[in-house]
Amino acid sequence: MFSMSEKELGKKWDRCLADGAIKLGTGLGLGIVFSVLFFKRHTWPISLGSGAGLGMAYANCQNNLRSHYMLHRGDKEQ
């Protein structure tokens, strides 16, 4: 009924942040785990994991924000 398009962006940012946080944490955790378990407490898996997590989060966020401008394959096929 009362769709407010202005709130969408905020929502997207929220999701972005949440997603980023999750991914970062997950990456970090995984990195820590891996560094501890497999890579003799080198820092590089942690940074790798966090970086990957961050990166994924970034990509996700960007994709999310771009999603309106992208034509999906499904639409194309339709």
Binding site: F2, M4, S5, E6, E8, L9, L65
Partner: protein
Amino acid sequence: MLRACLRGANATARKNYRRIPLTSLQQCRHYTAGESSSASKVVVAGLLTVSGGIGGTVLYAKWDHKFRAAVEKNVPYSDWLLGLALGPAAQDPGLPIKKRVELAQPPSMIEKQVKKEGAEGPVKDSSPAPSQPAQSLEECNECHEHKEATAVHPAPTEPMKERPVEEVAARLAQQEQEEQDISASVSASLEDSLASSAKATLQAIGAQEAALQAIMQHTDKLKEAMEAEVLPEEKSNQWKDLEAALADRTTALNDARAALSKANESLDSLRSVIDESKGLKISSVRPLVLAAEENLHNMVVDLDKMVMKVQSAESEAKIVSQYSELVNEAKRQFQREVSSLTPEIQANWKGLTGKLSTDDLNALIAHAHRRIDQLNRELAEQKVREKIHIDAALEQQKLEDQKALDNAVNTALQHVKEDARLDQERKLAELREVMEAEMRTQLRRQAAAHTDHVQDVLKVQEHELKAEAEQVLSSKMLEQETRYRQLTQEQLDNFTLDMNTAYARLKGVEEAIDSHVVAEDEARKAHQLWLSVEALSYSLKTAEADVPTVPLENAAQAVRDSCRDNDFALALASALPEKSLQRGVYSEASLRARFNSLRSLARRVALIDESRNSLYQYFLSYLQAALLFEKSQEAPPSQLSSEDLDPFKLLSYASYCLEHGDLELAAKLVNQLRGEARRVVEDWLIEARLTLETRQVVNLLSAYANAVGLGTTQAP
């Protein structure tokens, strides 16, 4: 040319001012001098040519008249010049006379026509110009109208004018009168002279006859006296008679001569009168003249005959008298001889026979013998001489006869000539009469033809005039009729008009009453509509801060109900957007508030669009929004240029408009946003559009309701 040169001189002077002023000026002066000298040469040459041309023209015109005429015709004022130089143009005499003759002929013809129209009179076919040399008309000699001759001379030089009929008739009458007078006088004079000459001639003839008689008597008597041997008493009577007869004869001859001279005189006078009357040349006199001439001729002939008779008688008498003289002479000689021989014997010796003696007798006889011998000798001599004499006399007689013959022949010739001339004149007169009669008949015919023609023309004219008059009459009648019809029609029209107006008014009144009823109905409906619309607009105002209005469905329904048969209102009512009906619309204030929050968001995503939508761009956009400052409210220009499409500017314009209550313009401006900013404000725009739509419809409806209400309210 001079001016150009001077300009050039000045230019060169200015150019070479410092260097060679003098020489250039000199040069120019030389130029100007040269120019002027050549110019003067040209002028002089031109003048020479012109004067030469004029002189040549004048000379040639003097020599050739046709050229002169051509020049005078073509070049104006040349005739003045040529007249000044050469004198007036000399006319060529040969051609103009012919032309005058020709011109004279037709004017005479025209005059003939005119005079024919005027009156019949003596024919004027003899016309013109007896003074002209080369006239071919025969009647030239008989031309009797001097006036005509004088009239024709100026005729070729003047334009022909038709003499008025009365003038012509008067002239003709005058001429006739004159002619008649002249002829009367001439005839009178002729008659007088004729009478006198006839009398004189008769007298002369009588006298001649008497003379003839006397001569004949005398000769007879003389013959008698010569030959007859009668008694001496009778002889003396005879001689007395003879003397008396001689006296008679002489008197008769004298009388005859006198009478003859008188007759000749009178004849001469008659001849002169005849010649005079011939000189007058009037045709009516001619027969008289002719008759007089004939009479004269006859009288002359008679007179000559008589004179000849008398002359022959005279010559006979001369012969007889000569013979008688000779006899008398012989007798006298014999008497003398006898008397010489016998002086005592008397002349009348016959009565003295008894007195003579024998000696005397013998002597007498001897003398008688001697005498007889002598006489015989003389006789013989005489015979011979006689022959000679006779021959001479014959010769003389022949000569005399010849002379007499010649005279007679001459007189006869003269008579014959006279006769022939008279015949010719008579024939001429007859011919003239015939021709005149013919001419008269021709003229009569022409007159008849003319009258016919005039009659025809008159008839035609009558027809034409009648037709014209009828036409005029009919047109006038038509006019009157049409006017009458027009008037009646007008009256009818007026009446119908009045009737129509009355009927229309009645109808109008009825309609007014009906419309009143209708109007009241309408008014009621309008009021209802207005009320419902008012309700609708009131329901619009129920919007609060963030809460939209109540759904407008009911009010819209009410409106729809109240305008069931009003298509316009119905259409409008159904034009309300569904959403507003179902959900209601936001108020302007709420939209305004929402916009304020929107604005900052839109500012933040101002840089994001299809091509730029990575996170980095987002960061940049956020940075821009943090660093860029614009006016919070700026009045929008009437026309947006490309630089006004910057989102920041647009947002400031839009907020200005919103602050000033112009939602529409704000919506329009916000509509110009592109990219992400546009996506962000999309919903706001939709809401704004909705509100605007609904408000517009409601405004229209209320305006319409107001209008209808106003329309239906009756002015007091």
